[in-house]
């Protein structure tokens, strides 16, 4: 007996076979292993299939519970339609529909008829509404590039839509031999069709070449609104994926699905990519890999496939293909606008943030490596800071000013050059040679220049040309105090004779400048006040860090003039760090600036923190040194000055204490470990050892009135400490100590040579000797280290 077909066995399992046939089959099953194996399998399969139905039917939604069936034959279709339409052929087939070409015998025109199966359990009005969704959407859209709807109808099992018949080729085939511009013409029609839909809050969801037909006259028609979606009504689609994988947007294939116009923009991006390169951006054949690529990978850059691709179009394309919906054009209309802009030869709006992304990713991975390298001492902290600084700039947010700053080059140079020349020009106005010009006109050029700069700057700021604007405003900001000074030079009450620069010893040299410049302290004081205010105003407007710099400088000058006006109070009997002395005020003001900088840095506003930090640092170092030099040193005041101590010894001790303070500060800054702090630590690191060695050099002064045994000790201590610095620092790569050590050695050699050579030759000779010693050290050191290493194993 031949084996029965599987149908019989299945029927047998279901109990649908009559008794005789069942008996017959049972006999056969006993003898045929193959058939009984099938029987067993089929029985097992039933369980798994039941499970599948249980899990996925609710997931597919009630709408899909029963199956859309297809119409395979023309005859069947004709039978369903009756006489008004004569079916010619089956033209195509979708996942839930069949499309036939037909002739409307009454109106005598060619039509396309799309049959959609009615779900069997589709009783509710809701599904009734869903059934006509496509037709309703098409009916709403009256656009020359969208297929027209003629008629809708319904049979028992199918609903159908009669629409315009388009005799044309799919888009990609139509443009196969076309040059870029013609292709763009077709593409623009597509975007306009989709844009018309978007204006009515309708998303097509399935834009692909086969849904876009081009007729012989080059007219584009968008078809198939079968899965189109009105997002105005329900912004969240059901969890079911619909669409064409290669043209799907990431959010379309990732639950929870969110459909917006951006989905179509993505598909249009894929289409544009095809237009530019004739390949798909995500060409994986396997759906799993394809979806993965759409979600996570960036496509190959079009220009790397074809060099002819215009960069602007590439940018437009990449903007459409952004993974984040909000980074794309918000709808097809914007995309169409940008394409038109390109066709007109104007500047397009698309910014290559997509490229940024890939750069950012690379930089991110690389910068992560950097920290590993740093941890393994392959990079110094300085290098690390520099590189991370550059990387930060690369991956910095898309701030318009930053992008602008990267674009400007020549114009930027001109801008700054122009700014500085103007400022210097205004400054030259101070010279006496200008005195033959009537005094009233003197401030005029500066004032006019400042006004022009300010007006242009503000105008540019309004036009969002932020970088240029900051340049102009900064120049204006610098011109303000100069104009003030020039203007005030007129009035006798503020004449330099009355309020000259303070003639105290520390600033004595400054008074020389006074002979050239017609500036008095009060004038400086007032103009600096204005300068501070204008810096603050500009800072508030532009938030540019350059105004922090100007503000800090103006504060420095302002404080200086304040102190000068008050006169440099003597140090005699006051504590040097109180506000009664210039140095004390400087110390506190510097400390305040410094603290402000650290606070700013903590708040991640480090671009504002730099200038206050450095000016604060400058003021602190200046005042501490002034205190050290003064008669009543910090040390002297703290511990009653021992009578036997010389002035030089006290000063040196103060400087050493200062040096140690700086080194401590360096260690502290290093602990805080932000970029600014590391930079500061670097500076402290240099200042510290220099102060210590400088102090030792002071001790070794011939002028000091020291007992002979002390003098001998002080003479040796400088070279010894210097050598210790040099040799101690080499192994640890402490540059600051190394070089200050070298300077110390040079100073001690100079001390020796000055005895034997006259003053003029002492310096070069000592330098040459130091140089030779350094060379010898560099030659000997490796040998010495080698020996050291070789010894160790023993």
């Amino acid at each position: 007996m031949t084996c029965p077909d599987y149908e019989r066995i299945e029927k047998y399992i279901d109990g649908r076979l009559d008794k005789n046939a069942s008996a017959e089959l049972e006999v056969h099953l006993k003898s045929c292993e193959e058939c009984s194996a099938y029987l067993n399998n089929a029985k097992n399969d039933a369980g798994l299939i039941a499970e599948l139905r249980e899990y996925f039917n609710p997931c597919l939604g009630t709408a899909e519970k029963s199956l859309p069936i297809h119409i395979e034959t023309v005859e069947y279709a004709q039978q369903l339609l009756g006489s008004q339409y004569r079916i010619i052929r089956k033209a195509g087939k979708g996942s839930v529909s069949d499309i036939f070409e037909a002739i409307d015998t009454v109106l005598e025109r060619r039509v396309a008829i799309k049959f959609i199966a009615i779900k069997k359990d589709d009783q509710t009005g809701k599904n009734e509404a869903n059934r006509w969704q496509e037709a309703r959407i098409m009916g709403q859209l009256n656009h020359p590039n969208i297929t027209h709807l003629y008629h809708i109808g319904q049979t028992q099992d199918f609903s159908y839509i009669v629409m315009e018949w388009i005799d044309g080729l799919p888009l990609t085939e139509a443009w196969r031999d076309m040059p870029l511009e013609q292709r763009l013409g077709l593409y623009l029609q597509v975007t306009e069709a989709v844009s018309a839909a978007h204006q009515r809050d309708i998303v097509h969801c399935d834009i692909k070449p086969s849904n876009i037909l081009v007729d012989a006259s080059g007219h584009v028609k968008a078809l198939d609104f079968g899965i189109a979606f009105n997002y105005d009504r329900s912004p969240l689609a059901d969890s079911l994926y619909r669409g064409t994988p290669a043209f799907s947007a990431p959010e379309q294939i990732t639950p929870p699905v969110r459909i917006t116009a951006a989905v179509d923009v993505f598909s249009l991006g894929v289409l544009l990519y095809q237009l530019l390169t004739d390949t798909l951006p995500f060409g994986q054949s396997n759906t799993v890999e394809l979806f993965n690529a759409i979600r996570n990978k960036n496509p190959q850059i079009p220009t790397s496939i074809s060099e002819k691709v215009p960069i602007s179009l590439q940018n437009i394309c990449l903007k459409c293909l952004e993974k984040e919906p909000r980074c794309r054009y918000s709808d097809a209309g914007q995309l169409a606008d940008d394409i038109k802009r390109f066709l007109r030869g104007e500047k397009i709006w698309a910014k290559p943030s997509f490229l940024n992304d890939s750069i950012r990713q690379d930089v991110f991975f690389h910068s992560q490596k950097l920290s590993v390298w740093k941890a393994n001492d392959l990079l110094t902290e300085n290098e690390y800071d520099k590189l991370t600084g550059i990387y930060d700039r690369v991956v910095s947010p898309n701030d318009p000013s930053i992008i602008e700053a990267r674009k400007l080059s020549l114009s930027q140079t001109c801008l700054y050059l122009g700014g500085w020349i103007t400022v210097i020009g205004c400054f030259v106005l101070f010279y006496k040679s200008w005195e033959n010009i009537p005094l009233v006109f003197r401030p005029l050029p500066a004032a006019v220049a400042a006004a022009i700069m300010m007006i242009i700057g503000i105008r540019m700021w309004q036009k969002k040309e932020s970088r240029l604007s900051v340049g102009f405003l900064a120049t204006a900001n610098l011109l303000i105090p100069i104009t003030m000074l020039l203007a005030m030079g007129q009035w006798e009450i503020l004449s330099p004779e009355k309020y000259a620069w303070g003639a105290e010893s520390l600033f004595n040299s400054l008074s020389k400048i006074n002979s050239y410049l017609v500036i008095g302290n009060i004038q400086l004081y007032i103009s600096c006040l204005f300068w501070i205010v204008s810096s603050l105003i500009f800072l508030r407007i532009t938030k540019s860090s350059i105004f922090v710099l100007f503000g800090s400088i103006s504060l420095l000058v302002f404080l200086t003039t304040c102190f000068l006006i008050a006169g440099m109070a003597g140090y005699a009997d006051v504590k040097p760090w109180t506000l009664d002395t210039t140095a004390g005020r400087y110390l506190w003001a510097g400390g305040a600036l410094f603290a402000a900088a650290i606070l700013l840095d903590k708040r991640r506003l480090s671009h504002y923190a730099w200038s206050p930090a450095f000016i604060g640092l400058f003021m602190i170092v200046l005042s501490l040194s002034a205190i050290a030099i003064s008669d009543n040193t910090l040390f002297g005041w703290l511990w009653k000055k021992p009578k036997s101590w010389d002035k030089n010894e006290l000063t040196a001790l103060s400087f050493i204490i200062n040096g140690l303070i700086y080194l401590g500060a360096a260690a502290l800054c290093r602990k805080l470990n932000t970029s600014l702090q590391r930079q500061l630590a670097h500076i402290f690191n240099w200042i510290g050892p220099l102060h210590i060695l400088g102090a030792l050099r002071i001790l070794d002064s011939d002028k000091a009135d020291l007992p002979e045994e002390h003098r001998l000790f002080y003479r040796i201590i400088l070279p010894i400490v210097s050598l210790a610095f040099v040799f101690g620092s080499v192994a640890r790569q402490m540059k600051a100590f190394f070089f200050s050590g070298l300077a110390g050695i040079a100073a001690s050699i100079h001390k020796l040579t000055i005895k034997h050579f006259d003053k003029f030759y002492a310096w070069p000779v000592s330098l040459i000797i130091t140089g030779i010693i350094c060379m010898l050290v560099s030659w000997l050191l490796p040998h010495w280290r080698q020996k050291h290493k070789l010894k160790k194993p023993d």
Binding site: D5, E10, P256, F291, N292, N296
Partner: protein, 194 residues
């Protein structure tokens, strides 16, 4: 084509490979998300919970806390998601807890282990089946797949399926048997691995 084997995902997860992580996400994100949704969290909360659970899992996994012999990944992941959900509930603002009193009781009910386990098993199985189906879809001839879909999924009678697709009823059964056999093989493999 390359079917990323499930064990391979676990092996690669220890390395900082983003692709593997994404692959892993595509498996377990929907499971945890749906689980959280069904337990009564809002979409956004469920998203948060899913993220947190996956991250917590990853951290523990990289620390080597998951030992395959001690239990299935499925139950381990359930434990993590369950804990994250309890934590999350605890940290929700008070008003939201007080407002819907009945809602809250239903929440604690739904977190009861047995019920929660059932929901979890259901979601897990769904993920397994859908992953395997996805896999099959890329391996099997489209027509066979379509036959299977019509017959097994949507429960159309074999004769009707045969008629629509223009094949014999016998071919429908053959297609079904082949696909189911393949599916069973994949499902078994999957359940073994995780």
């Amino acid at each position: 084509m390359k079917w990323v084997t499930t064990t391979q995902i676990l092996d690669d997860l220890s390395s900082e490979n983003e692709q593997v992580w994404n692959e892993f996400n595509s498996y377990f994100y929907p499971v945890i998300f749906n689980f959280a949704r069904k337990t009564g969290f809002s979409d956004t909360d469920a998203e948060d919970i899913t993220q947190q659970s996956l991250l917590r899992f990853l951290k523990a996994f990289r620390e080597g806390k998951y030992i395959k012999d001690k239990g299935r990944l499925k139950s381990w992941l359930w434990g993590i998601a369950h804990n994250v959900m309890l934590d999350y509930r605890r940290h929700l603002p008070k008003e939201r807890l007080v407002k819907g009193k009945t809602e809250e009781t239903s929440f604690w009910d739904s977190l009861e282990d047995e019920h929660s386990q059932m929901t979890w098993n259901c979601e897990w199985r769904k993920m397994v089946l859908s992953k395997c189906l996805e896999q099959i879809a890329s391996q099997v001839d489209p027509k066979v797949l379509r036959t299977f879909e019509l017959y097994a999924f949507f429960g159309r009678p074999a004769e009707e399926v045969a008629q629509t697709l223009g094949i014999t009823a016998n071919a429908v059964y053959i297609a079904k048997t082949r696909v189911v056999a393949k599916l069973r093989e994949l499902v078994n493999q999957f359940e073994q691995d995780f």
